[in-house]
Amino acid sequence: MKIIRAIIRPEKEDDVVLALEGAGFPAMTKAHVFGRGKQKGLTVGPVHYDLLPKVLLLLVVNDEDVERVMSVIADNSKTGFIGDGKIFISDIEKAYTVRTGEGL
């Protein structure tokens, strides 16, 4: 199993979540976070914004679904401008459902 951490634009959150739900991945966790990227934030005229609001989505999926979930997130959160976000994938060794105590 893999965990997918996607950092996306807050305004694209609903689109991504509904698209993921449509693709059969309704289960996820979301956190409102602040971050910055290669451009070190955003400068608008004299004002510099160091950390920009983003939404972090956490999904745990089977290995074979990773590419599909990544493409769903990317297609629905893409605007083509800087600040679209990143997707990170890492390994999960074990996963348990608390209600039943079973491994997934």
Partner: protein
Amino acid sequence: MKEIMAVVRQSKVKETLAALAEIGVNSTTVHNLNGRGRQGGNIMECVDPLMDVNVEYVSKIYKFPTPSSMAEYSRLTKPVFWVPKSLLDIVVSEVPEEKVVDVIMKVNRTGNPGDGKVFVMPIEDAMRIRTGERGDAAIV
């Protein structure tokens, strides 16, 4: 070194932390965030009997968009539901991770949907910033 990520009910966090302290796990990071599971976070369809109050009232407390409130100004085809959850982040080296997982599951199990998930993942390295210790010594 293993990282244990547990998504649990917010009301069970204190109890979980107390139970973890008994087996010697004192260092935990708690995030309060929102989640949704197989039911799509829709407590309107899948009412949790532990929530001892009227569902409409709960949704007002947590500012859940209910179908009726969303219908007024929705640009979406359907509402997106979220349930408030807590994410516990625990990194262990000495205490076996099975023990931690067992304790978390024992405390949080109610038998209803929404009990949460526990994930175990490997950690490559760790560093205690104060002293610069690396590896297992940084966590103990």
